[in-house]
């Protein structure tokens, strides 16, 4: 049983990381229908920004978070303005264009910073573990889980309790009519894309102490995060959260029943079946599209 509890905790921990990455992706996909394959590279940018801030400015991971958010959001904003905005009428092409952006960002980092792995220290005050019986929980992972819930709550507040959120939901429901009411859909799209990118940046900052920071680190993550979005259902925040938890747990538990690789294959197969039978995801939001 000890193994199971530890694996459940590992699953929750993985789910919390997936959640932050997937939230940004879900917002971008839910709002604009853009499948952002460069999202993993935004995570990578966030990780490298944290590394740079720690190495050159001496900032800790947690203090660097707001700066990383702003920096990656700015990068996302520019990319939206210059590239993605021209492709809203061609959603299939956005997959290809964002893949191209991903290659460019990855290579830019490889050329600028180097391909070797970079290390970022976790914060001192979160270094220990909490042990309950045989269950060992690292403080830092607990912090990441807590922070992912904060981000989820914050995003939910933004979507439902602010004027921007209202405009955003209006544009999701019907872009044409909301424009007639004076909402600048273009602006809403830009800000949303930047916000989604910023969330990816935060995710990157949070995972640097756990993963090795290399230029290709985002590629694997974006596949997982994207599957979370599809499973969760379009435009539904709580669905995304539930799907992140589900996929995180299933992956973690499968890896003790069978091995890691077969567990991943099983998860992928499950996702293919899910798309086939429930293409709107497990928890679709009620929107008129």
């Amino acid at each position: 049983m000890d193994v199971v509890f530890n694996q459940i905790f590992a699953g929750v921990s993985f789910a919390s990381i997936l959640l932050i990455i997937a939230l940004g992706l879900a917002i971008i996909y839910g709002t604009m229908g853009v499948i952002n394959l460069a999202h993993g590279e935004f995570v990578m940018l966030g990780a490298y920004a944290t590394w740079a801030l720690q190495t050159y400015a001496g900032l800790g991971v947690v203090t660097a978070l707001p700066l990383v958010f702003l920096a990656v959001a700015a990068a996302g904003w520019v990319i939206e303005k210059v590239i993605v905005q021209r492709l809203y009428t061609r959603p299939l092409d956005t997959i290809l264009a964002t893949w191209g952006i991903g290659i460019i960002l990855q290579q830019a980092v490889r050329l600028g910073v180097g391909a070797e792995s970079r290390f970022v220290r976790g914060p001192e005050w979160l270094s220990g573990n909490i042990e309950i019986g045989s269950l060992v929980m690292s403080n830092y992972r607990l912090f990441v889980i807590f922070f992912s819930l904060v981000v989820l709550a914050g995003t939910w507040m933004l979507m439902t309790r602010t004027e921007f959120g209202m405009k955003l939901r209006a544009v999701i429901q019907n872009r044409g009519i909301s424009e007639c009411y004076g909402i600048e859909a273009k602006k809403v799209y830009s800000v949303t894309f930047a916000y989604g990118a910023g969330l990816a940046g935060i995710a990157g900052a949070l995972i640097t102490p756990l993963f090795s920071t290399i230029p290709t680190m985002g590629t694997g993550l974006v596949v997982d995060a994207f599957l979370v979005v599809i499973v969760g259902g379009l435009g539904s925040l709580m669905g995304t959260a539930a799907a992140a938890l589900l996929i995180g747990e299933v992956t973690a538990l499968f890896s003790i029943v069978i091995n890691d690789t077969l567990g991943r294959i099983a998860v992928l197969a499950g996702i293919i079946l899910l798309i086939r039978y429930r293409p709107r995801g497990l928890f679709p939001a009620d929107t008129r599209r």
Binding site: R90, L92, I104, I275
Partner: protein, 368 residues
């Protein structure tokens, strides 16, 4: 219509002349140089296969590399068995596999191998297609399902080390013997074999796109619902083109394994699969000929430029791809077609536009 049949035949003729006569002459019938070019030609086949499903029928298959990999592994398994003679293939011993797995047994036969390289990808592609298209899965979801399948398949191949050689793939292969002819991959005749394979594939592809079948596929691409209301069974057409595309990819994979003399899981990686999409998009996905040329051009550029800009090459590739997607959504082919149309409009009598929905057809079908 896609483009006039006569233009395509002229194009194919010119292309064949360049590939079969120009290129060997240019390299002075030197086998080593031609071997590199034979590699581009085999990649051209997989690119044109994608053009059939993506450009013609509008099904973006991001898992094309999976069927390509199946073909290459089929060929490599045959050659590995041949190289091992009566012994077990060496990597099996390292992985504690004592007897030859049943899966491998039929690959002793060349006929079976050649058929398997075409039919196994076709069958797998067909199953996925039936699975997707019966449920009317379209657009982005086709891309996601095929991508997920590709990732799962590659994981499986790497995982089953004892059967597939794992991460290392299948290396140390024998030379293929075809009708008593032992193929030396550094010979000019091998180059002609690959070149003729490409020409056969292209002729077949052109025949398909100009047939009624191709017309219906384009109708499906441009407006699925309307085609369905006309009484066509959309899922069947989509499934058939998916099978054909997968079989051609398997064929390309077999040739590729021959050219490089090994099969590796990297043939089934996501980046390789998207590279196929890049070649196809750069050349022009609406025309099989253009897609094949796109593969050759991009790979030729990669071969030449990656020596000069070792680090920067990938960035240039990404940038080129981005620019093509943004400003030339129909690839080089689209630019040429538009330029030709503009020229004709300026000089000579005005020619009626063949199909009013032609210009925005690609942008419209993606709305769904």
């Amino acid at each position: 219509m896609n483009s006039k049949l006569s233009y395509d035949i002229i194009g194919l003729g010119l292309f064949a002349a360049v590939v079969l006569f120009g290129v060997p002459a240019f390299f002075g019938y030197d086998g080593y140089e031609l071997n590199t070019f034979a590699r581009y030609l085999s990649l051209a086949i997989v690119s044109m296969a994608l053009a059939l499903s993506w450009g013609t029928a509008g099904l973006l298959n991001l898992g094309q590399a999976a069927t390509f990999g199946m073909g290459s592994y089929a060929m490599a398994m045959h050659l590995k068995l041949k190289a091992s003679g009566d012994n077990l293939p060496d990597f099996m011993g390292w992985n504690n596999v004592d007897t030859l797995p049943t899966l491998w047994l039929p690959f002793h036969s060349l006929t079976f191998t050649l058929l398997a390289g075409l039919l196994i990808p076709a069958a797998v592609g067909g199953l996925i297609a039936i699975f997707m298209f019966r449920a009317r899965i379209a657009g982005v979801f086709v891309a996601v399902i095929t991508l997920a399948f590709l990732v799962a398949f590659q994981l499986l191949v790497v995982e089953q080390q004892g059967f597939t050689g794992g991460q290392n793939g299948l290396t140390g292969l024998a030379q293929l013997t075809l009708f008593g002819w032992t193929i030396d991959i550094y010979s000019v005749s091998f180059y002609y074999l690959v070149g003729i394979c490409l020409m056969v594939a292209l002729t077949f592809g052109l025949y398909l796109t100009h047939s009624k079948f191709g017309l219906i596929l384009r109708a499906i691409r441009d407006d699925v619902e309307r085609t369905r209301y006309f009484g066509y069974n959309v899922a069947t057409y989509q499934t058939v083109i998916f099978c054909i595309s997968a079989a051609l990819a398997g064929w390309a994979g077999m040739l590729y394994a021959l050219v490089l003399e090994f099969a590796s899981p990297t043939y089934m990686s996501v980046s390789f699969s998207l590279a196929i999409v890049i070649w196809c998009a750069v050349g022009g996905r609406e025309s099989v000929l253009a897609a094949a040329m796109g593969a050759i051009l991009v790979n030729l550029a990669e071969g030449r430029l990656s020596d000069v800009f070792v680090e920067g090459w990938h960035m240039m590739l990404g940038l080129m791809f981005l620019l093509v997607v943004m400003f030339m959504p129909r690839g080089i082919y689209g630019v040429i077609v538009d330029a030709g149309r503009a020229l004709r409009r300026r000089g000579g009598p005005a020619e009626p536009v063949e199909d009013p929905s032609y210009d925005n057809s690609l942008s419209r079908k993606q709305e769904s």
